[in-house]
Amino acid sequence: MDREKQVLFAGFGGQGVLSMGQFLTHIAMNAGKEVTWVPSYGAEMRGGTANCLVTISEEEISSPLTENPMTAIIMNRPSLDKYESRIKANGTLVINSSMVDRLPEREDLNVLQMPVNQIAAEIGNSKGANMIILGAYLEKTGLIEVEEALDYFGVVFKGKNEKVIEENKAAFMAGVEYARRQW
């Protein structure tokens, strides 16, 4: 099932977790892939975590849900506690180390850490955390080419003013740079 990738985004309500997932869904669709995005709600919303699951595939997607995603982008500690055990064997964990004060326990996972909040503070865009980690993740995995992603910013943020688009691009690129240097 490698032609299909499922990525879970999880964090606090205010961390832009849902929009990060939507953004990836959008650019993947524009890149010609099949995509689905599902937010969780209800019982899962309690306990301070918000999450969404993105599926990107070369073929028609049957199930938009899974118990065991390939990758998780983890923005805070409760999300790591909740989802660590669910990631597929040999899957990937991308962790915001600014908000997670422990290492994963599993040893089969590919773990990528970055101090997202610190980088956001450095570039003076405290709301940019989601874009930073997404940029780093795409640079590292090549799920969608960085150049291609940059091309679609204008389409995805259609209707937003130029400044907002540029700020988001800058945050995204800060993540890309970090991944190039550190991962």
Binding site: Q22, H26, V35, T36, P39, Y41, S62, E67
Partner: protein, 351 residues
């Protein structure tokens, strides 16, 4: 084709608008409220009517009135709201008024929860309110169908003068995926029965009271004949890998997509599994099930409930093949656990 990314709830609302819906009457309830919110934004811009009613009772009666004028109108709700709407749905069915009723379904009974569920299946497929009646019930399984079925629902509603229900789990309302936008429906259906003021004609009456025994029976016979016609003409299902299937899984809505993935995995393991997905929950596509039963040793109904559609499957198969059940509520069964269930049953049956 240009694709746009849309949430199921929005795709459904936009589909309704493309179908010419110009009246939305609703009362907020999770997970259906996005439809009302979408309509509140759109209706004033296209010369339509949006009213947030004081209750679901009022909302469905607004649909009753709106449909009586001949306009295409709708409401959307969930769980407890659908219970309140049953009074009005019974009247609308009797008065034979076309309209769309949407259930973005959640778990009950009582206030239940807001997790996606299919436990309103009985309510939807058995009429739901008082008296002998049915609504056509469509179960989409993705954003594209949320849009397409909204359009289809209005067409069917006008064709048969019947309330049509779309039942979709909360997941589908929230699920975002690419869809192809449809063209607006332009042809207008002639509705000489509508009430609009009797200028130049005899007054029209829309009425559900039939005090005389004969009159009452005739009305019911008339409706029963209509339902028979719909059963003969409108059953719909999608079958997948059933030609040689020894284990046929039946699931609808979002559940059917999840099951499909499990069926593909089961095939990789040498288990001859197949899937039948009822698209019309009423009329129930029993012939598709009988066809799929050709080589089947076992059926499995997978539902987000404690087991409701299984009764229709058993009725359709009339004892020819045993039917097992797998269901949860509060959780949506995931592909991995359904695969395990298929493997377990296949091993037990020696498939």
């Amino acid at each position: 084709m240009d694709r746009v990314l849309m949430k199921g709830n929005e795709a459904l609302a936009e589909g309704a608008i493309l179908a010419g819906c110009r009246g939305f009457f609703g009362y907020p309830i999770t997970p259906s409220s996005e439809i009302a919110e979408y309509m509140a934004r759109k209706m004033p811009k296209i010369g339509g009517v949006f009213v947030q009613a004081e209750s679901e009772l009022a909302a469905i009666n607004m649909v009753y009135g709106g449909a009586a004028t001949g306009a295409r109108v709708m409401t959307a709700s969930s769980g407890p709201g659908l219970s309140l709407k049953q009074e009005g749905i019974s009247f609308i069915a009797e008065a034979e008024l076309p309209c769309l009723i949407v259930n973005i379904s959640r778990g009950g009974p009582g206030l239940g929860g807001i997790q996606p569920a299919q436990s309103d299946y009985f309510q939807a497929t058995r009429g739901g309110g008082h008296g002998d009646y049915h609504t056509i019930v469509l179960a989409p399984s993705g954003s594209q169908e949320m849009m397409d079925f909204a359009i289809e629902a209005f067409e069917l509603a006008d064709k048969y003068r019947i309330p049509v229900m779309i039942m979709a789990e909360g997941t589908l309302g929230n699920l975002m995926e690419p869809i192809v936008m449809r063209e607006p429906v332009l042809n207008k259906v002639d509705k000489p029965w509508a009430i609009s003021g009797c200028q130049g004609r005899k007054p029209n009456i829309i009425n559900t009271l039939h005090l005389g025994s004969e009159e009452l029976e005739n009305r019911n016979l008339h409706l029963a004949n209509k339902y028979k016609l719909i059963q003969a003409q409108e059953k719909r299902a999608e079958s997948y890998l059933v030609e040689d299937a020894e284990l046929v899984v039946v699931a609808f809505g979002i559940m059917a997509r999840i099951v499909k993935k499990a069926v593909v995995e089961a095939r990789k393991r040498g288990i001859k599994a197949g899937l039948v997905r009822p698209i019309t929950l009423w009329p129930f596509p029993d012939e598709d099930l009988r066809q799929a039963a050709e080589h089947a040793r076992l059926f499995l109904s997978v539902e987000i409930s404690m087991g409701q559609m299984i009764q229709d499957i058993q009725l359709a198969l009339a004892g020819r093949v045993p039917v097992e059940f797998y269901g949860r509520i509060g959780f949506t069964p995931n592909p991995e656990e359904i695969l395990q269930e298929i493997i377990r049953l296949a091993a037990r049956e020696g498939l």
